[in-house]
Symmetry: C2
Subunit: 311 residues, 2 copies
């Protein structure tokens, strides 16, 4: 099934306890697209400035990502984000945000994109997400991200958008804030009740949780001794998740579970190097080996228990 | 295989956002013993005062826990702990601790206890734990708990004790403090290097992790919409873990994994009511149903992935 992602393409400046990069390729659509490209053909919709160079385009080309709908504003500058992480890699400290051309982003999809069966709405203004979703009435499975900024400043608009998608992929703090409920399971139930088919709550080093109407599935994080740079981990997760689903014939509970694992696999690679470096250079043997590791990490045989003596 | 637990038997006063109890049966050996009793015969070693009444003894009797080695000091008072939890149920705020007879606790084991194949050293002074462990030279599998207080005030003594046991069962903050290392996987490796066969790191609402020499196993927490009272959850986990192992013929990797699940199952019941109330009234159908739920929460089929189109 065809897959389209709508979101930011950016330059990032990154600082972590392990090193520094002044300008690397980043953005939600970039991380998502790269990750999903290992599973299916990806259509990226975004906007960049004239400063977006051949090295950057080459990354998309190398992974066969269709960039026909990445608009170029020749006299504009590409979205720029600068952030720092301390040893607690769960929190990004934003140093600078320059929206640049992204400020005018208001995507009108081509017929090709409009016919996508799967659609991922990366983190942008919720009303824009809703507008894109409405351009794709035939999409079979639409997922969205959002962020604390929109939830605190325009919660109703976020909820209006949630009501027209099938799946929300957010982190636990966002879920709690959105539902105004500290218990994550109660929060999930409240968000599911907006009419979702699936809700994915990402919990950083603690893994990710899938809520569906009748089931609950938990995927741990891959045990990493060092997280080098977490930027883009969430979008890389979403790319593996949606990419795997797009490569299947149907969105079933079993496929959603495997999609959670592939999302976690891809995110675990993303954080091992700066920006897109690690995923860009990834191969299938590594992906499949890590998928198998997730199975070893979580599976057990259920031999029925029998009390040896009477209780 | 026979199982002995050495630790506190206590009265607790508890306050949570959901209610209050002035005096309930508590203590590490109590919670552990009750939980383990569903899997095997348990021998409890502890100390109580003359205020320990027939209602309390009745709980132990009901679960066939051998209390021959729970010493009674007729003119002494039983260990008393008073604590409060706010909505963040991960942190207990201690209001009062009265060691009472527990201050003089220095167990000399009977021949029966000395011959136990499995031994759990609940959280007491590390040198006392070591002394007990040395009284049981033939034990096949010895596990211990500890706490931040001992790690910060006598780390060397804690480490000396770790060196003579097979398994440590602690929470993530304790593991980080013990290893002086923020990354939990690096911390685990450092602690394993003291010669452990298994290390269990409990992570509250995020589940529990088993580290062995060659493997890593992750068990999520059971999804509860309300945690009523977390007191004793760690010892209840340890009781299910060690109780299940004691009921097996061998300590294998597969048995350790199932033990993790049974530990999590029992802990998930413990927090649903105050003190021992929920586990005391538990039955096998509920335990087995929840075990099955853990399998549904974590398992997936690994259909090999094939890229539909060329990358």
């Amino acid at each position: 099934m065809s897959l389209t992602v709508v979101g930011s393409v950016a330059f990032d400046a990154l600082e972590t306890p392990f090193g520094k990069r002044d300008k690397v390729l980043g953005g939600a659509a970039t991380h998502f697209g790269l990750s999903a490209s290992f599973f299916t053909d990806v259509n990226a919709v975004g906007i960049v400035g004239g400063d977006f160079g051949s090295d950057e385009w080459e990354v998309f080309k190398r992974h066969n990502i269709n960039t026909d709908e990445v608009e170029i504003v020749p006299d504009g500058k590409t979205f720029f984000w600068s952030g720092r992480y301390d040893y607690d890699m769960n929190t990004a400290h934003t140093l600078d945000t320059q929206l640049n051309v992204f400020e005018t982003f208001n995507p009108t999809l081509s017929d090709n994109s409009k016919n996508s069966k799967l659609l991922f709405l990366a983190n942008i203004l919720p009303s824009l997400q809703k507008g894109v979703r409405e351009q794709c009435p035939d999409a079979k499975f639409v997922a969205m991200d959002t962020m604390n900024f929109w939830i605190s400043s325009m919660k109703e608009s976020v909820i209006d958008t949630i009501k027209v998608v099938d799946c929300v992929i957010i982190n636990d703090a966002e879920a709690r804030m959105l539902a105004d409920e500290p218990n994550i399971h109660k929060a999930a139930r409240k968000i599911m009740d907006y009419g979702l088919r699936a809700l994915v709550i990402k919990r950083g080093e603690y893994g990710a949780t899938l809520f569906t109407k009748d089931a609950y599935f938990f995927c741990p994080a891959y045990p990493l001794e060092s997280v080098f740079d977490p930027t883009g981990a969430g979008d890389t997760f979403a790319g593996g998740f949606m990419g795997y689903l797009a490569a299947q014939n149907e969105i079933t509970e079993e496929n959603l579970r495997r999609a959670m694992i592939y999302g976690s696999v891809m995110a675990s690679f993303n954080v091992e190097k700066f920006g897109t470096e690690r995923v860009d250079a990834l191969g299938y043997p590594e992906i499949n080996e890590r998928f198998a590791a997730f199975k070893r990490m979580t599976h057990f045989d259920d031999i029925p228990f029998e009390r040896a003596t009477t209780a």
